[in-house]
Symmetry: C3
Subunit: 145 residues, 3 copies
Amino acid sequence: MSMLHQSQLMVSTGGRGFFEITDKVQREVERSGLCDGLCTVFVLHTSASVIITENADPDVLRDLESWISGVVRDGDPAFLHRDEGPDDMPAHVRSVLTQNSIGIPVRNGQLELGTWQGIFLWEHRLAPHRRRISLTLVGASTGPG
Amino acid sequence: MSMLHQSQLMVSTGGRGFFEITDKVQREVERSGLCDGLCTVFVLHTSASVIITENADPDVLRDLESWISGVVRDGDPAFLHRDEGPDDMPAHVRSVLTQNSIGIPVRNGQLELGTWQGIFLWEHRLAPHRRRISLTLVGASTGPG
Amino acid sequence: MSMLHQSQLMVSTGGRGFFEITDKVQREVERSGLCDGLCTVFVLHTSASVIITENADPDVLRDLESWISGVVRDGDPAFLHRDEGPDDMPAHVRSVLTQNSIGIPVRNGQLELGTWQGIFLWEHRLAPHRRRISLTLVGASTGPG
């Protein structure tokens, strides 16, 4: 039985950093009734990313942040676009270097993720923001056909 | 009513730079009759990208280009692959660092984009090219079920 | 006739490097009976990527590897996460900078790829690994409707 389900998640960030959303996305998969198919996670902003990375050791997240901060420098004088401060343009560069949208398989009602894979919103702005994430689920439902 | 629609867009680039395709993709969504679902934008080349970034201030695009030019240098003597010139291998690196394919939600016949999000073809080669973009739309149509 | 097909590929890597999987993915498209739709290739690991790049000149792959090795350095003393060696954290950074998931159009039973596009698993760890790739195909089948 073919189905489509769409919804939005809101994530309140405390400023730059990683916010794991794996459980929120999984709950939405369950709420939708999708059994097998594809769940596309799309962030509705140009200064935050959705990424998948290791969710066991928090040092991985610290290292991702420190690495990218070294390569895309806040306050880089080469940037012309700085309306909203020294982290404005770096946030757009980080967004383009990572991902806006990830398609994740769903099997038997579960996100099919590797053992260490977690889904994260990566907030690139220094100040807290409310971020909207759009979910689109397509595939076959568990319901009576 | 389940539906599938596929088509190609052609984009003539004037050489390295950004070419916004949001309106072209939106028009194809309308032409397809898709009401709710997923629109996947796929670029059929290895030296151009599809990205989503801010489409209000053109300085954002200039800064993206200047940032990546500083990190992936044209004519870098470390590159072995330079059959087509000093921008050949840098174009492949830029392509791998960004995206070939983006899945974008469609709701009520509209691409569901954030306020500042635009879809762009990013031409990485210095010379003008004709670039092909493939669109795949899946979901529910507006037509009579 | 609407269809969904899911399966996994295993890729045994000989350590860091590129392993082309275009033919394997194409064979799975054929086995599934998908005529037109979308094939999503998803890697179930946080230290390997799926990418699309030029598959004609092997120098392109050598240059991609040498470029990223220069930007994300093995044994970088700034990295805290090094449980599994000097290539552990760099593998996570490389994964986040590239892609976990690619949606590829399928038309008339064939992956719709540009002339020079190949699909690759990029192993970022130095040691050989067995990597799992999940495929999700949605669309219209060739079978009798």
